[in-house]
């Protein structure tokens, strides 16, 4: 890892965890749709789908919160995301 080697982007890559799995992310922010696609790359998000995305160990709002469709959140090293479509009943 050599963050200084990427002057065009000016940002270094951070490690994030989506449903426990590790990913490298090289943008400042990540959107609801991007997190979903990391979690379920083979299951495209259809209209009306109800994936819940919750994050912790981030920057905003004490580091934890939920992402809504169309929303983005600033990423932070070792930030954690839960993505799930299952409902408790």
């Amino acid at each position: 890892m050599s963050p200084g080697n990427n002057p065009g982007h000016g940002e270094h890559t951070v490690t994030i965890f989506v449903n426990t799995r590790e990913f490298q992310w090289d943008k400042k922010e990540i959107s609801y749709e991007e997190v979903y696609n990391l979690a379920f790359p083979n299951e495209p998000l259809n209209d009306g789908d109800v994936a819940r995305i919750e994050y912790s160990r981030g920057h905003n709002g004490g580091g934890a919160g939920s992402l809504q469709p169309g929303g983005t959140v600033k990423v932070k090293e070792n930030m954690v995301f839960d993505v799930y479509v299952t409902v408790r009943s």
Binding site: F17, T20, V50, E54, N60, G61, Y84, T86, R88, S89
Partner: protein, 128 residues
Amino acid sequence: MRETRIVPEFVTSFPAELEPGHLYVSARFSTAAHLCACGCGREVITPLSPAQWVLTFDGTVTIWPSIGNWALPCQSHYVIDRGTIKWARNFTCDEIQLNRESDHRILDAVPASQGRWWGRLLRRLTGH
């Protein structure tokens, strides 16, 4: 094929490919994963917290409350009870909608952790 039994697998990260009949539990990330018990092959994620799902391990695994896969094509619905899949009745479309709304209300009212609650309050106060 429908699963009848599920055995725990304690991991840090979920493997890339889950095996049917295994419940992968990550204590580090407080979440669990398994392949839908109906056999459709979809990955089911159940974050673990008092407001989400609660895992009990006594040599076998129990997850409460039940798992409603309404968002999956199979719409399966079951309970994992002492290592056994107990199939629950399929809900009607209206019941699915009601269940979704009430579950989300509960989740919004009873956050998964103090941090989440505090985070929401802070965001509300600061407008972020």
